[in-house]
């Protein structure tokens, strides 16, 4: 393991947090000055995360870059940061997406722009905190503090129904997380420590496990979101400003998946096995039913929001399939390893693709002031380059081979086939359904005749709108062609995770 002599994780978290807090109070008349500060802070954070990646050792599963200081002596709560393979990937996703959002914001004019950018930076810092925290209370603090910036982003800069959407979002997620707090406290009481890895070795009875499992499931299930607790997501997406939707879909939902991997899998495997007959159908409902719901949408943002729920269904399917292999032969465990890695792959790829799609919709909305599919037609004739990019994201969204969207779904499907062929058949309907809603959206918006003045007068794509999209396209193709770039990072952690679960059984 390489040793950096600087507290790089603290640096990573506090750079955007402090940058954001400072920016929050700089009420500068000059908008470009504010944008420049935002850009430099987010780029600096991105560089720190890349530095982290360079120094990250992928050949072992132990925690790296550990920082541990006593924080609350009374309760033995520590300021304990570290990362493993899973964290590394999500950190990169967060820093990349935030940088892209800040660049995308260059083109937008709005009231109180300093606060807008500041809140995104604060949100970035808190998200990074969630992925780095290995003390459960510290994790919880970042997890819940995350609500505040997004609550304000949607509430202040959102659409007409923003108050409803943002309060719904806040209360939904708060409800989930408080139950998790009780579970965390119970675990810490049993383990006599707040260190997350100490929870892994706890031996709990099945009844206890089920309660803890449910508490975590509600917390992370709402965040992911799983059917039937997904209803806050479309509302939040529709009312959020474009960049808010981007970070919501691309990173915030992933916190749910990350939490499931970090807590549900290793702490309560028996409960997972016991409840799997309910959990896997829930994921399948998310995949199939929500895809149908997506087809019926008239609002572009809602459509992509529902498609997010469906895609996250794949993530939870891959995670829950791991439970099914508990106590079985070695070769089947390799399958669940593939499923787990597929879930992570799916999360990253969905992060990139949905970010791209929401940026595209934001670009259309900024020109036509409408998100309704019926109001647009023939965008392709007015903005050919933009349409090509958007079509690319739509195809990736439907799982086109060669893009990252394909890899994750494919891996989860392999795991499903080995588990139960019926799961696999049901899950694979998404290949048709996702193609249906994605391509149909493309057909209605991008192709066809130009039949309204607003579309005809759309301005050309600006450079600061093109760059974010191009970066995302490159990443999607890169990961699609060489998925091992991503998979290698979490390989050891994932193998270790399967081992922990099996040993526990």
């Amino acid at each position: 393991m390489y040793d950096l002599n600087i507290p790089i994780l603290s640096l990573l978290i506090w750079t955007p947090l402090i940058g954001g807090l400072v920016l929050f109070f700089i009420n500068h008349k000059n908008d470009s000055f504010i944008k420049l500060i935002g850009f430099s802070v987010s780029t600096l954070t991105l560089f720190i995360s890349i530095l982290l990646l360079i120094n990250f050792n992928t050949s072992q599963y132990l925690l790296q870059f550990v920082e541990k200081h006593v924080w609350i002596e009374n309760l033995d709560i520590n300021y304990h940061l570290a990362i493993d393979g899973f964290s590394m990937l999500f950190i990169l996703l967060t820093t990349t997406i935030t940088s892209i959002i800040i660049i995308f914001n260059f083109s937008e004019e709005r009231q109180q722009n300093n606060k807008y950018i500041a809140l995104f930076l604060i949100l970035e810092g808190l998200l990074l905190g969630v992925f780095c925290a290995f003390d459960s209370i510290l994790f919880y603090i970042f997890f819940e503090a995350m609500l505040i910036p997004l609550f304000l982003i949607i509430g202040i800069w959102g659409g007409p129904n923003r108050v409803y959407a943002t309060i719904k979002f806040f209360i939904y997620t708060l409800l989930g997380s408080v139950l998790m707090l009780v579970a965390l406290l119970y675990l810490s009481f049993q383990a006599n420590s707040f260190y997350i890895l100490d929870y892994y070795s706890l031996v709990l009875s099945l009844d206890t496990q089920i309660f803890i499992f449910l508490a975590f499931l509600i917390a992370f299930g709402i965040k992911v979101p799983m059917w039937p607790v997904h209803t806050w997501l479309p509302d939040a997406h529709v009312e959020a400003p474009s960049s808010g939707s981007v970070i919501l879909a691309a990173v915030l939902l992933k916190v749910g998946g990350y939490g499931m991997i970090r807590f549900l899998l290793p702490i309560t495997p028996d409960a997972g096995l016991y409840l799997n007959n309910i959990l896997i159908p829930l994921s399948l409902i998310a995949i199939i039913y929500i895809s149908f719901v997506a087809i019926a949408q008239q609002d572009m943002k809602k459509l992509i929001a529902y498609s997010s729920v469906a895609h996250m269904g794949f993530v939870t399917l891959g995670i829950f399939l791991v439970f099914n292999t508990i106590g079985q032969a070695e070769d089947i465990q390799i399958i669940s390893h593939i499923g787990l890695q597929g879930s992570i792959m799916q999360m990253l790829s969905h992060g990139l693709i949905s970010a791209g799609l929401f940026i595209c919709i934001g670009i259309i909305y900024s020109r036509t002031k409408s998100r309704m599919i019926d109001d647009q037609s023939g965008v392709g004739q007015v903005m050919p380059l933009f349409s090509a990019l958007m079509m690319f994201f739509l195809l990736a969204n439907s799982g086109l081979p060669g893009t990252s969207g394909f890899v994750g779904e494919f891996m989860v499907l392999i795991a499903a086939i080995k588990n139960n062929i019926i799961y696999a058949i049901l899950a694979s309907t998404t290949l048709v359904l996702a193609a249906t809603y994605s391509l149909w959206l493309g057909k209605r918006v991008l192709f066809g005749e130009v039949n309204s003045d607003t579309v005809a007068s759309m301005k050309k794509l600006r450079l600061d709108e093109l760059w974010p999209l191009l970066m995302l396209v490159m990443l999607v193709i890169l990961i699609g062609i060489k998925p091992n770039l991503v998979l290698d990072i979490s390989e050891e952690s994932s193998i270790n995770m399967i081992k922990i679960i099996t040993n526990k059984y």
């Binding site: 929050f24 109070f25 009420n27 924080w71 609350i72 002596e73 009374n74 309760l75 109180q112 606060k115 209370i137 919880y140 603090i141 970042f142 819940e144 503090a145 609500l147 505040i148 609550f151 304000l152 509430g155 202040i156 923003r162 108050v163 943002t166 309060i167 806040f170 209360i171 708060l174 409800l175 408080v178 139950l179 707090l181 009780v182 406290l185 119970y186 810490s188 009481f189």
Partner: protein, 482 residues
């Protein structure tokens, strides 16, 4: 031989009072500020005296008057809180031209009452302290004599307060009849000698339980726990906002000290019974407080119900019946007081259409007219909800942790779910501040620098909760060692 040094803090306050009352009569109105500064000085000096004589005062072994570290911590806290409250009061009263030095002096009598309450080791002394506090509060509530609401609130509080005093006296006389003593220590010894667990149907124990119930009812009334909370919304609503600030903060500390002394040490033999009682009180308070607060439009009434809910949380910590719960309850009380001073203090400095803030909607669009104030208010509200990293989160965390560690998990789940319900009405205020249209009629009575510094301190306390944690640990363990 009586050693007067032990009660020197009380002597300071009393003599300052007597001196300033007379002095103020002779001061021309442009020099009235002198008496204000003298009052502030006497508070700070008294707090400093206690702080500098901490270990000396702790050597007091009197059976009547307790000056242990535990009591003195709370006294210092009350004195400093009162200094801050007086600052807000002075600013507010001057702005609205109802400034009178008597307001502060009457409150000082209440302070004396609280100090006696905190230190009392004898039921009669306790009763005297409570009455001194209550009487000064009645007159402070009625202070704004032009307002019908104020008079109504004062009369209401007076009548209900008299009933609750009656309950207290009845409980005290029962105890005297059964144990033959009024001293905390002797009552404690007497109850311990009964061996409650082995003689459940002993007549004496039933009698003591009656007495305990009467005393607990009276104290819950002062504390504001449901179902004895009826006066809180009306009185909070009727008083001027700085009086509400006073009412909702330091008297709660004094009552908390008495509750913890009576329940956790004097009546510790009856622990089995009073834990159930406090659970009922706390569950009702949290339910009623959080649910009724949702429908309030007046911000003082809303915060009144939020007080009831917070009191419920404090009682929930007490109901654990072990040191970890008391520590959590103390942490919660201190946090609640610090946050509430910030909340009412900030609100008292806001003016809407030349009148003090009354309704939640008066605040709409505060963010566009003064973003800094809006930000401060948001921090306070988020802390009330219990969103990390603010101090309110740590307080709730400790309460829930103490419940989980004593296997009261269902109560813990109840508490967190009620937190979610409670979050709604705080969020509505944030919504009004940040998301609604500005009315542009909002201004402030004075510069908010001090409030800003105070609230930044609150944030800092949230990042370093160990400060309050160690304090609670230190004082609670002191209570049980001596």
């Amino acid at each position: 031989m009586i050693n007067y040094l032990y009660i020197f803090p009380e002597i300071i306050i009393t003599s300052a009072l007597c001196f300033i009352i007379v002095l103020d009569l002779f001061l021309p109105s442009r020099l009235k500020y002198i008496s204000y500064y003298l009052i502030q000085f006497s508070l700070i000096f008294c707090a400093y005296y206690i702080y500098s004589h901490f270990s000396y005062l702790n050597t007091n072994v009197s059976q009547l008057y307790d000056t242990s570290i535990f009591s003195n911590t709370f006294k210092i806290f009350i004195l400093l809180s009162l200094a801050i409250i007086f600052y807000y009061t002075a600013v507010f009263l001057r702005y609205f031209n109802i400034y009178q030095t008597e307001y502060f002096l009457i409150t000082m009598f209440g302070l004396l009452g609280m100090m006696i309450m905190i230190s009392s080791q004898n039921l009669i002394l306790l009763y005297l302290g409570i009455e001194l506090l209550s009487l000064s509060l009645y007159s402070v509530i009625a202070f704004n004599k032009n307002s019908l609401f104020s008079s109504e609130a004062a009369v209401k509080y007076y009548i209900l307060g008299a009933i609750s005093s009656g309950f207290l006296l009845f409980g005290i006389s029962l105890i005297y009849g059964l144990t033959g003593s009024l001293s905390f220590n002797e009552i404690f010894i007497h109850i311990s000698s009964l061996e409650v667990l082995n003689n459940m149907d002993n007549v004496q124990i039933i009698g003591l339980l009656f007495a305990l119930i009467f005393i607990l009812i009276s104290l819950s009334f002062k504390f504001g726990a449901a179902p004895f909370h009826m006066w809180i919304p009306d009185v909070y609503h009727g008083s001027v906002i700085t009086t509400t600030l006073l009412l909702s903060t330091i008297p709660k500390i004094a009552v908390f000290v008495i509750l913890i002394k009576l329940l956790a040490s004097v009546f510790s033999g009856l622990l089995l019974f009073w834990t159930d009682m406090t659970i009922v009180l706390s569950v009702l308070s949290i339910l009623i407080g959080n649910i009724i607060a949702i429908s309030q439009t007046n911000i003082k009434r809303m915060l009144a119900y939020s007080t009831i809910a917070n009191i419920g949380f404090i009682l929930l910590g007490l109901s654990v019946g072990s040191i970890i719960g008391y520590k959590a309850a103390m942490f919660y009380t201190l946090t609640y007081v610090i946050t509430t001073i910030a909340a009412f203090g900030l609100l008292s400095q806001l003016v809407y259409e030349k009148k003090p803030i009354e309704n939640i909607n008066d605040l709409s669009g505060l963010n566009s007219s003064s973003p800094f104030t809006a930000f401060l208010l948001m921090i306070i509200l988020l802390s009330y909800i219990g969103i990390p990293p603010f101090i309110g989160f740590h307080a709730k965390l400790l309460i829930i942790q103490s419940l989980v560690e004593t296997n009261n998990i269902s109560l813990g789940i109840f508490a967190v779910l009620m937190t979610v319900i409670g979050s709604f009405y705080y969020l509505r205020v944030i919504k009004v501040i940040y998301f609604d249209e500005s009315k542009n009629d909002l201004s402030t009575t004075s510069k908010l620098h001090l409030t800003g510094i105070y609230i930044m301190g609150l944030v800092l306390l949230g990042l370093l909760p160990d400060i309050l944690g160690q304090l609670s640990q230190y004082s609670i363990s002191n209570l049980f060692n001596t």
